[in-house]
Assembly symmetry: C2
Homo-oligomer: 358 residues x 2
DNA sequence: CAAGAACGAAAAATCGATTTATCGATTAGA
DNA sequence: TCTAATCGATAAATCGATTTTTCGTTCTTG
């Protein structure tokens, strides 16, 4: 009966100690790799660990430790490929260093973001990777600052005076999109976006505008943005087209906008690239299999995740010095959704074109 | 100086106790809502909590407690909308009950799945929501059983003799797809899938086949599956078409397959639904904005998540009794990618059709 | 050979909570 | 009036590890 009860509950460090005939402190030292233990005793500890199938309880272990081996990750959402793979990467990197990642979605709400952060602070996480809803000046970053938390800000940020930041080089990528579109002869381009406040969205817009005007000073760039959600953006876009505006290309500053643009094109019976060209910031798996394939800016998820974790652990280990602001280069994928203006609906070369067989 | 140090480190229950002039045990009781405390003392505790900004340390709290308030979630991946929103839902539901969710991706590997599970067992999680890579008979479920862990299996499962299971009603949804396709006159249908071993994929196949044959005994159903990954599937599909096989409709049993099918259609210059019809299991946001919109089976993510958590917490709270196997109904969305066979490439009514304005 | 340094391991304190045992004061009952 | 029961609160034990302190041996060294 006692046998059974002992087997029910997981062995603790004391069980290992008594089986090995040493003290719990010695077991702890052996497992921590301290060398001042007699080899004979160390072997007995290893044997007991093996026999009992003992594993350290990370919760109890973190209890005594100054820095708990937990990393928090807060993303605006998990539904998109970008943040989904971001969490996957972060989790893998945390695990590699023996840390546990606790991830939560702020669901695009700054209020929720702060609540989650408070809860992570309760857990006394060693560090936080925060992808803020809006930008680096939100209440979440302020909370982290006020409570002396260590963290890294990613994605919708440019730079901060307290935290390291890592994001895609939006401006450079947008400049390349400008070269692609203006280079193809487009001189009336619509840019759509959400939350112009977000530093990166502004960077994308400015990067695009500057480069486009440099290449062709007479290019016309219309901008439609919405603060709140996608629906107002959809309404504005609908209005814009209904007024008779006919840009030859659309550059969407974010994935949701690309979807909105596509559905509005659908609604009006327009085809890419014959009737209008389209480029989107943020790539997704489906974009290369649809007809036409959608040109897109690919964000370097792995690099961002890896760099963020490197910076974070440097700070966790006590590194001082001014915060750094990293920009990771993007890749711009030219695809069939971009053509030259004026190749009209019946000029061929559009989505009816037969792709080469391998 | 001492002032500052005190402010550096977060207040513990003892700090609250001394500020309130009571013992730590009393503070604990007040915060737990025990009523045997003099109202006067309770008030002083609340005041001290307020003044110090005290919050319970969940790690220390869970230390003493028998059941730790941590739930583990293991998904095959985070990149897709389905598992992404699943994690979001699960996290919200866990939070509602005061639990912390620790999520990890098995990256479609059973070996990794088991390792993650072992690590969650180390944390002594109260329960686990496992979406197995293959099915309920994998090593992960065996590990949970062997170690007396409580958990719920979701998505790629049908039923189990040890754990409650929750999944989409694949068979019923597939039967509806069969009605849709056969009802539209299709008599040669290709079904593609991955990992036929997965119980749900088999259920989808059988649900489809049974209903299709019931409606038209002479319907021809070809099946292409691949065990390993998507690439062999793509190769087989390419072979199949190269041999001159010309089904009039394709039913993909999973999202990856839908993408593969679309890209193969592209490669051959085929259009939906003129040249071939397409229905996919699993919906995604982009499917309704592409041209044509892709008909799809929508899985009830919220219901699955909610039911899984209900069942899990029932077990966590000690409920006994035989495991249940829930099937949540899906919704089948008819879209433009499905048409009638024989309406040939030049018969109109396909992806060139002008959608109604409004 | 005795004092001191070095070494290895055990004992004890600690982390921050919860829970159980204990204790003093008040009230009830005999 | 004295004992027993009740009540509220405190002290102490506990969870499972890590870290610091203490202690007994052995090895140096003057």
């Amino acid at each position: 009966m006692t046998q059974r009860e002992v087997q029910q509950r997981r062995p603790s460090i004391h069980d290992v100690a008594s089986h090995a005939g040493v003290s719990a402190a010695t077991v702890s030292k052996v497992l921590a790799g301290v060398t001042t233990v007699r080899p004979e005793n160390a072997q007995r500890v290893f044997d007991a660990v093996e026999r009992l199938g003992y594993r350290v309880d990370p919760l109890a272990s973190d209890m005594r430790r100054a820095k708990r081996r937990i990393i928090g990750a807060i993303m605006p959402e998990f539904e998109s490929e970008f943040f989904g793979s971001m969490v996957t990467e972060l989790e893998g990197l945390a695990e590699q260093r023996g840390y546990t990642l606790v991830a939560a979605s702020s669901r695009e709400s700054e209020a929720r973001e702060k609540e989650i952060l408070a809860r992570m602070h309760d857990w006394r996480v060693a560090g936080v990777v925060l992808a803020p809803v809006r930008n680096e000046h939100g209440p979440a970053a302020a909370f982290m600052k006020a409570n002396g938390m260590t963290g890294v800000l990613i994605d919708r940020v440019l730079s901060d005076d307290a935290f390291d930041t890592v994001s895609a080089d939006s401006a450079a990528a947008s400049a390349e999109v400008a070269r692609m579109l203006v280079g193809n002869g487009h001189s009336h381009i619509l840019v759509i976006g959400l939350a112009e406040q977000a530093a990166t969205v502004r960077a994308r817009l400015e990067g695009f505008r500057t480069q486009a005007l440099a290449l062709n000073p007479s290019v016309r760039i219309d901008v439609i943005t919405s603060e709140v959600s996608v629906e107002p953006l959809r309404a504005s876009l609908r209005d814009y087209f209904a007024r008779g505006e006919r840009p030859t290309a659309v550059y969407s500053l974010l994935l949701k906008g690309t979807l909105v643009a596509l559905s509005e094109f659908r609604r009006r019976g327009w085809h890419c690239p014959n009737d209008i060209s389209l480029v989107g910031f943020d790539d997704a798996e489906w974009m290369q299999v649809t007809w036409p394939a959608i040109a897109a800016v690919v964000q370097p998820v792995r690099q961002i995740a890896s760099e963020a974790m490197n910076l974070l652990f440097r700070r966790v280990e006590g590194a001082m010095g001014p915060p750094t602001a990293r920009l990771e280069p993007c890749q711009v994928l030219m695809r069939e959704s971009v053509g030259s203006p004026g190749s009209g609906p019946h000029s061929g070369g559009g989505d009816r074109q037969q792709p080469p067989l391998s």
